[in-house]
Symmetry: C2
């Protein structure tokens, strides 16, 4: 484990990089990419076979070597972000369940694999929009005492989207075990949880997965719902992810010498573009326009940004907010989006530093 | 002109319905649909011909009768909303240019016409994604002293989208003159300005329209840019529209009898879904979940919502906010999105009433 990783939970192993390391490269190295495990990390052989079945699909199995041989190999650059990223900001408002993620439960990688759509076509799956594709992982998950294999699903329409991959490589390297080796799903634009790791089975169904992760977890509820009162047939299944931005450098609590400082971070709008990023050096009273550091090709990457500023001595309060290409801005306060499971914190991000 | 329309400008004629009338029906009647003219309303004959030309297109013209005869007739239900809707909320923060729209510069209609894509195919237009389709209207527009025919453009990719129509009817009736008779463009999901009325010419170009409406208007700038300092080659061209919601009934300033009241309004998220609408009866301290009144088929409609509540006597402060299906909420304050032209106010909407 890299020294730049902060462990959020030893078992299951969950960790995120320190913010300054997160933002150093456009593509996040595997050993700095956040790890969100829901159970012990499985150890699967390279010749592991994935079962495929379900509605109008003849039960079969396929190996990674067969996927590579039968289908065109594709590369997609995409952010994966945990639905609980920035949960600590919501925990300032009130207690939530879940690991205390700071701003690092996100990473941007180049994924290599084959289109899920190509496999679905090859096995004769229907493309009817009322169907779901369900994924099972080799990891065993305990959701509120219910132990079952990890399972999630996505709607057939999304499953057929050209950038949804069955991936065996990340930034040109074989997937590390903690990132889903030997084969994982990558669903660009969706919360990380849908990108199932350690795939063991792919099944076409006419209902979403009934596995606890899909059915009783990763849903967004209003603030007046608690874990005790939640009706899991209600709530918003967290798929598409909202606009977000964070300051990665300087880090909160850092001491800096007076003078010039480069403020850096990320912003992400997924299927939309980030149209601008604004940084305040005085707690939100005035705003400056940050510059984009990247000019990504595809639509699923993050945009790193930077602003060069001079900070006077004393305690300084930095804030970032982004706007997307529909002119949509981020809500200011975490209070306005608090939910008991601590999902989807998109409030303006604040960093306090001491300039000496 | 309906007595339920509030004139915002006599010349060019701009008007919006009173909020309570706006929300009575899922489909907004033509005579209650906001009118945003940029010049005098043209009077074109029914046999008016529209020129078609540009890159790799043989110059030609087509009548509405020919469009109906040659291409399949399509119907799309879609909101059109002025980019300046709710400008009055931004004007509470600071002066802006533009007409003082309240919450009524929006309407939801069923549009009938043919796909723009079908016409583009028929005239041999390329579908290259670096091209633009430019539209000219019969209306003469004065933008900061520059008088020219109304002109806008959309990217070829959007122009080819199946729901973009050349429309001659609204809610099953021929287009009224103020809504663009005999033929207008309808670009679902985009600011109303792109849905050019009184079409005279359609042209494929490799640049956006150079008409003043496209080039020097309808762009979103940060708060520190003024009309004097604006660099019109910069700024965000307002196309896709953001999440929004408003309370239409009761209206602001109304007096109500104590007891039960139904609070009603609209919410719109365009290519996303509105996942929930929350109403506060006490200025934003507590929130209740509103019910959706509509279950629209397509993705371009608004969603009307309602909440039955009991209001105590006294001055009461109602607020609405919506969330989309990516969990994205609206920013709370208009201060955080103010811009000199008063575009895209998406702040929580407030209504003050007196309960007697």
């Amino acid at each position: 484990m890299s020294e730049l990783m902060i462990e959020r939970n030893p078992e299951p192993y969950n960790a995120e990089p320190v913010p300054g390391a997160l933002i150093e490269r456009f593509l996040t190295p595997q050993n700095l990419f956040y790890v969100r495990s829901h159970g012990p990390v499985p150890d699967l052989p390279a010749d592991h076979r994935i079962e495929v079945g379900g509605i109008s699909v003849g039960e079969c199995s396929i190996s990674i070597a067969e996927l590579k041989a039968r289908f065109p190999v594709r590369t997609v650059t995409a952010v994966l972000q945990c639905a609980g990223n920035r949960r600590t900001d919501l925990q300032q408002v009130g207690k939530t369940s879940g690991d205390p993620w700071d701003i690092g439960a996100i990473g941007n990688a180049e994924w290599t694999g084959v289109r899920l759509a190509d496999l679905l076509d090859a096995v004769g799956a229907s493309d009817a929009s009322n169907l779901f594709v369900c994924f099972t992982g080799a990891d065993e998950v305990d959701v509120e005492g219910e132990v079952a294999p990890f399972g999630v699903s996505i709607a057939m329409t999304k499953a057929r989207a050209p950038d949804v991959l069955l991936a065996w490589a990340m930034n040109g390297e074989p997937l590390a075990s903690e990132h889903g080796a030997p084969l994982r799903l990558v669903v660009p634009g969706y919360a990380g949880v849908r990108s199932a790791k350690w795939l063991t089975r792919i099944e076409v169904k006419d209902t979403p997965s009934e596995a606890p992760i899909q059915a009783h977890d990763y849903k967004l509820f209003p603030a007046d719902v608690t874990s005790e009162t939640a009706d899991w047939t209600q709530g918003l299944t967290i798929n598409a992810m909202p606009l977000n931005a964070a300051i990665c450098s300087p880090g909160s609590g850092e001491s800096l010498p007076a003078g010039k400082v480069r403020i850096e971070g990320y912003a992400v709008a997924y299927e939309r573009d980030v149209s601008r990023v604004e940084v305040s050096l005085n707690g939100g009273r005035d705003w400056r326009q940050a510059d984009f550091s990247d000019d990504p090709d595809g639509q699923w990457s993050w945009q790193r940004w930077s602003l060069d500023a001079e900070l006077p001595k004393g305690r300084q309060h930095l804030v970032v907010r982004a706007f997307d290409d529909a002119g949509q801005g981020q809500p200011e306060l975490p209070d306005t989006m608090w939910n008991f499971a601590g999902y989807l914190c998109t409030a303006w991000h604040h960093v306090h530093v001491l300039v000496e």
